[in-house]
Every structure is written in structure tokens, then in C-alpha cells.
């Protein structure tokens, strides 16, 4: 008890001293802090000159620029870091640092940061969320500052609201069908191109130990992302589900479950979990994205797999994913723009995309990014059929209604017709 009392006392004293001496930490109040009131314009000249809590660099008083990102993959983090080091070394006006904010916390931190006026200068965020933040008014209008003419339409759409550009696409990715080549050959099957063929092949590949197909069906944005290709392949749209197309899509998923070719566990599997199942040999085919490839190659180098387009119902379809850069209003906009100009140059884009396992959002780069026999190539082809989700400020609510619908169908708590009707009712309430 004495020992503990003493420790406690010492700690208390240390703390009090800390508090009273106003212990703010070094990086805390740097760049994002001094936000000019409401009618901010990009006149950050004044703010930059102000840079009192100076940040990182020494003599030249480089202005600190903060980036928030959510990639927890070590490789991604290292790559981003390398890009930043290169930029910092190439000039001495700005010093960029990147902060990792876990994916699960990212939206929360942006909301809280917006309320408390504590935001980064640049945010790298998930494309379907972009529109909501534009609605919030925290992203800078970048129209005319970046040349996105050659970018895939979907990627640009995700950060365009009312004809104005509020971000720059970081990279594009989409979903495609992976299949275990050895299992397919052993079962004597051929690569499926239509829904019927897919079901046949999946059935042939399903054994006691292996399920034929899997894709993430969690009740959240990730799940909606994975359900969208099926929905859109029928011709239905995200806002118009309660029709024979939408119902057909839901019925298809239901049949996959009921006929035992897809496990119900998919409603608990993230795309990463699905990949783990695939490389463990528990699942013969999966729908997943190209960012998994680096991990798959390192963790299961002997696995024989290939990629093909997602089988179609009426038309080929896939969902567009990826992140966007966004510049935060009221932050150090000049510095942010300077960094982004550097980061979106062709050479840097190629570097980042290859390291990340992403496809460039710039069509001209994407088309020459991969050799024809590269596992990434089918994804580039799939991009031609990939559409973006939204963009809509209320997309999260729409997405929620959709993911609830296919979850109901998978768990058997509603029929496809009921689920579609319920989803439609919610969606109508939002968009109309």
C-alpha cells in the first residue's frame, strides 16, 4: 500500500506539473488549426505565414500539411510514406505528415473534426462517402485545378457535385471473379460467363470441405459494394429495386445460399475474410478486388488462381471502388494543392498504383499499366463495366437499405419480394 501510494503521489505531481505548464503536444495544433471564419477562401497565405506552432522542419519554417488516411496495410502505409518523403525532400516550403485513422473510425473522426474545427489539410477517403462531405461543406472546390479529362468517368463522378470537382480520384478498383484453377480443372468445369453457368460451376465445385462461391455480404457499405454488381447486372439501379430485375438479383443470391454453393457466413465475412477463405482452399471462387493480389501472392504463392469478368445476367457489371483525395477548406489549401500536383503526376501515380495493387484512375495510364497475362489485367477490362455508387449525399442511407435487403434474403428472414419492397420504401423516403 505504501509503495502504491508513493507511486500514485509521484504520478499525480507529474501530471499536475504537466497540466499547469499547458502541455500541448508538438504536432497537435499545427496546420489544421487556425481556420478563418465562415467565408473562407483559399487565401491561406495569411494562415501559412502565421504558422506559429511551426511543425516539423527546421530552418526554412516549412508549413506543416497533414493528411488523414485509413489504410492499415503495412505495405500501403510504407508506400504513402515514401511518396511523402520524396515530396518533402523535393521542396522546402511544405512539410507533409500523414496520420493513420483506422477505417472503422474514419467517418467518425471526420464528423467530430468538422464539428470541432480540427481537420487535416488533405483527406484520403472512400469514394462513396465523398458526396456526403461535400454536402457538409468541408471540401474545397478544385474545378479547373486538376486535369481529370482522361480519368474513368465513374471515379470523377464520385467527387463531382453540381458540376464542380471536389476531389481527385486516387486510384480505381473494381470487383471481378477469382477462381481456383486447379479445382476448376479437377471438376472438369469451364470458366462461367453467365449466372446460370456460374451456379452450375459453383455446384460442381462444392464438396464437403469446399463451397463453390463466396463474396462479402456484410450489412454495410462493403457488402453493398459486393452486391451492386449482381443488382446492376440485371439492369436495376440502386434507387429502383422493387421491380422484376431487383427481385431477380435478390432471388439469385437466395438460391446461391439455399442450394449450398455459398455459405451463410458471408454475412460476417469482410472482403479480407473472403480472401482468407479462398487462399485456405475453403472456397473455390470468390468475388473480390485487385488490392488483395499482393497479399495473395505473398501468403499463398503456390495457389493457382485466375481472374475473369463477373458472370452476367443481362449485361456485364461491376462496382467501382477506390479512394479520392480531397482538400479540406480552411486548411492549408495551397500546400495541399502543391502536394497533390506532385502526387498526381504520371510518374508518381504509376508508382503508387503498382505498389498498392490498384488500377490508375487515369485511363491512359491504366490501359498500359499491366501486361496482358498479369493477374490485374482482367480488372482493367472489368473497369469498362464498372459503375460508381451514388454519388449522393444520402448514399449511406440508401446503401443501408440495400444491404439490409440482401441480408434478409440470405438469412431467410424475408423473401426477395418483401426485401425489395421494404428497401424501395426506405429509398423512396430518402431520394424523393
Amino acid at each position: 500500500m505504501k509503495k502504491k501510494k508513493l507511486t500514485a503521489l509521484l504520478t499525480a505531481v507529474a501530471m499536475m506539473t504537466g497540466i499547469l505548464s499547458g502541455c500541448g503536444s508538438k504536432g497537435a495544433e499545427s496546420a489544421p488549426a487556425e481556420k478563418t471564419p465562415a467565408a473562407d477562401e483559399a487565401s491561406s497565405e495569411q494562415e501559412s505565414a502565421g504558422g506559429e506552432n511551426g511543425g516539423t522542419a527546421a530552418a526554412g519554417d516549412a508549413q506543416p500539411i497533414t493528411i488523414w488516411y485509413y489504410w492499415e496495410n503495412e505495405g500501403h502505409q510504407a508506400t504513402l510514406d515514401q511518396l511523402i518523403q520524396e515530396y518533402n525532400g523535393s521542396q522546402d516550403q511544405y512539410a507533409v505528415t500523414a496520420k493513420y485513422v483506422p477505417f472503422a473510425d474514419f467517418k467518425k473522426q471526420l464528423s467530430i473534426g468538422a464539428s470541432a474545427d480540427e481537420l487535416p489539410d488533405i483527406a484520403i477517403l472512400d469514394s462513396p462517402d465523398h458526396a456526403s462531405y461535400v454536402d457538409m461543406g468541408i471540401f474545397e472546390d478544385l474545378t479547373g485545378k486538376f486535369d481529370v479529362d482522361n480519368y474513368y468517368e465513374g471515379t470523377v463522378n464520385s467527387c463531382t457535385v453540381d458540376g464542380k470537382l471536389y476531389g481527385v480520384p486516387f486510384g480505381a478498383n473494381c470487383l471481378a471473379l477469382y477462381y481456383n484453377e486447379d479445382m476448376l480443372t479437377a471438376a472438369g468445369g469451364s470458366v462461367p460467363t453467365t449466372w446460370d453457368e456460374l451456379k452450375e460451376t459453383a455446384k460442381a465445385l462444392t464438396t464437403d470441405a469446399v463451397t463453390g462461391l463466396a463474396f462479402c455480404s456484410v450489412q454495410n457499405e462493403e457488402g453493398t459494394f459486393n452486391f451492386a454488381p449482381w443488382l446492376w447486372s440485371t439492369g436495376a439501379t440502386s434507387y429502383d429495386i422493387n421491380n422484376e430485375n431487383g427481385v431477380r438479383a435478390l432471388t439469385f443470391v437466395q438460391e446461391l445460399i439455399n442450394e449450398g454453393v455459398m455459405s451463410k457466413e458471408c454475412i460476417n465475412w469482410t472482403q479480407g475474410d473472403v480472401m482468407n477463405q479462398f487462399i485456405a482452399g475453403n472456397v473455390a471462387m470468390m468475388v473480390n478486388g485487385p488490392w488483395q493480389i499482393p497479399t495473395m501472392q505473398s501468403e499463398a504463392p503456390d495457389l493457382n488462381w485466375k481472374v475473369t469478368l463477373i458472370p452476367k445476367d443481362a449485361q456485364y457489371a461491376s462496382a467501382l471502388g477506390g479512394e479520392n483525395y480531397a482538400v479540406v477548406t480552411g486548411g492549408n489549401v495551397d500546400g495541399a494543392l502543391d502536394f497533390l500536383t506532385f502526387a498526381t503526376s504520371e510518374e508518381k501515380v504509376k508508382f503508387m498504383m503498382n505498389q498498392f495493387g490498384y488500377i490508375s484512375a487515369d485511363k491512359t495510364i491504366a490501359e498500359s499499366q499491366f501486361a496482358q497475362d498479369s493477374p490485374y489485367y482482367p480488372f482493367v477490362e472489368e473497369l469498362n463495366y464498372a459503375m460508381a455508387r451514388g454519388p449522393l449525399a444520402e448514399w449511406p442511407s440508401v446503401s443501408d437499405a440495400i444491404s439490409l435487403a440482401f441480408n434478409q434474403v440470405i438469412t431467410g428472414t424475408a423473401t426477395p419480394e418483401e426485401a425489395a419492397a421494404q428497401a424501395q420504401a426506405t429509398i423512396d423516403g430518402i431520394v424523393k
Binding site: K4, E29, Y70, E74, Q77, Y100, P102, E118
Partner: protein
Amino acid sequence: MDEEKRLSRKTNILFSVIAVALLCVLLFPLYWALITSLKTEQEIFQNPPTFYPHILNTKSYAAQVETGDFNMFRSFANSFLISMGATVIAVLLAVPASYGIAKYHFKARKAVLLSFLVTQMLPVSVLLTPMFIMFKNMHVYNTWVAAVLADATIGIPFSVLILKNYFASIPKDLEEAAYLDGCNKFSAFVRILIPIAKPGVMVCAIFSFLYAWGDLAYGMTFILDQEKRPITAGIFNFMGQYGTKWSYLTAFAVVTIIPVAIIFIFMQKYIVSGMTSGAVKG
């Protein structure tokens, strides 16, 4: 004081066996976490599951020490600092408060007690934004102090509620004896009553420490720099956009538990004697 009757040898053995059996059943999840951490990812997904790792995989433990920006030792230090800070505040403020409520029946007493309870009645998520704003204005955002201040708000009301029972159970005669000896109210409190309420104070310190140790929300929201975050934040390294890596995750769990468990085992003597010393004489 008379010693409690010792149990007969047979009963002693019987109870000990039951105790160990209980231990095995209740701690099975931990055993499972331990062996999962030593299996390869392939083996984890094996059907039927194996009860011990057939292939030993220590990669997951190596990854615990350093993964990217995350450094285990630094994170532990952060957690420890934050938890100690929160505990100190909680104990310093709650002990007198619970004494005041237990012994002095002033008019607003019930309201005060209720208000301490009320502070626990909102889910953490809605407290985050206003607290964030406050911490930013206090210039402690992105420092360990913010986490300490936030975590203490859990420890204080809890401690007040538990401790008041201890103080209430101390008979008046002890206090009166102290006054007779010349103490005023405050010194009586410090010299006589706190030592007797030791079991309660110990329990409160432990609970406050553990709540702060296990906190994720406050540590994540109010601290932006990875290197300042508590150990709980490390969980995101193994559970993110890219799926759950079970062997790494369970290794993380084991590693998070060990230091706290060690502290407890060493402090066992103090803790257990503190908790079972008994507050009251006949």
C-alpha cells in the same frame, strides 16, 4: 479475533479440485486464444479444429512488437501512463466524495448521488464530440492528458458508488475515538478512515485502472498520433479493411493481457490482503 475454522482435509481437496475445474472451464476462451495465436492461418481454418497447434507459428508474436508505425512497448507505456493518471484522479476525487456522501446527510445528498449515476447514463459515442471540443479548447487534444481526463469520468462515479458502502459500514465509534484524540474532520478522515476503507479503495483503484486500460473509444478519438495511442488501438492493425488475421489478433490479445496479469500476480499479496482484511471489528 478468532481464526475461522479450517476446513477438513477432504473438503479442502474437494474444493481445490472444483476450483481448478472452474478455472479450466471459465478460462477456456483464453486457452483457445493462446493456441490460436500459435497456429498458422491455414490451421485456424481447418475443419475440425485442432486443440493444439500442429505447426508452431511464431510470426504473429514477432509482428506484435513492431508493425508499421505501431510499437508495442511504446503503446504499453502510453496505456500505462493513461491508466495510472485516470486512476489517480479517480481515487483522489472519489474517496473524499464517497466519504462525504456516506457520512454526512446534507440536503442535496440524494441529488448528488443521482447525478453521479446520471453521468454514466449516456453512451460514449455522443459524449465524444462535446468532449473533443472541450479538449481542443484546453489544448490537450492529441495528448495523453485528454485520454486521462476522459477515462477518469468512468472511474469517479463508479468509485463513489462502491466506496460509499465501505465508509457507511464503519461504525461511528471509530470516528468519535479519533475526535477525542484531537483530530478534526479532515485528519480523522485521512488518518483513520482511509486505512480502514482500504479494501474499497483498492478495489476502486483496480477498477478505475482496468476501465482505463480497456478503453478504446476515448484513446482513439482524442489522440491522433499513432505513437501516442494506447495499446488497445493496436487492434486495428489486425482487423481492418483487409479482413481479420486471427493468429495476429489472438497474439495481440495475449500480449495485451500479459502485463496486466503479471502486475496482478505480483500485487496479489497486496490486493487480496487489502480486499479481505475486513473493515470492521466487532
